[in-house]
Symmetry: C2
Subunit: 65 residues, 2 copies
């Protein structure tokens, strides 16, 4: 379990936060996700590889910068 930070664009509301959280947790049900929507900072504590987490977030339609 390690924490990775992503910078994510396009999360405009609480539904978006939930969509990103759920995308990560579908990949890794044990993951914990903390989102600061104002800054777009997404902290993920997970044993999944960073690339897989990034892909899960991107598949929801958000850009990682």
């Amino acid at each position: 379990m390690q924490t990775t930070t992503f910078q994510v664009q396009g999360m405009s509301c609480g539904h978006c936060e939930r969509a990103v959280t759920q995308a990560v947790q579908r990949l890794d049900p044990q993951a914990t996700v903390h989102i600061d929507r104002a800054s777009g900072k997404v902290d993920v504590a997970s044993s999944a590889p960073r690339e897989a987490l990034a892909a899960a977030i991107a598949q929801e339609g958000y850009s990682i910068t």
Copy 2:
């Protein structure tokens, strides 16, 4: 069945459109909903009273102007 138009503030993304649509259809499963997110215009064809539709939308956290 009549069509009512609401002017709704705060729908920022596709999730919001879905939330508004689902709120209306929980009240009236036969309702049809068309949303133009850019303008905030929500057209609802439903036999439910306008006040009840407005309340359902407001309960999702959106302002009707």
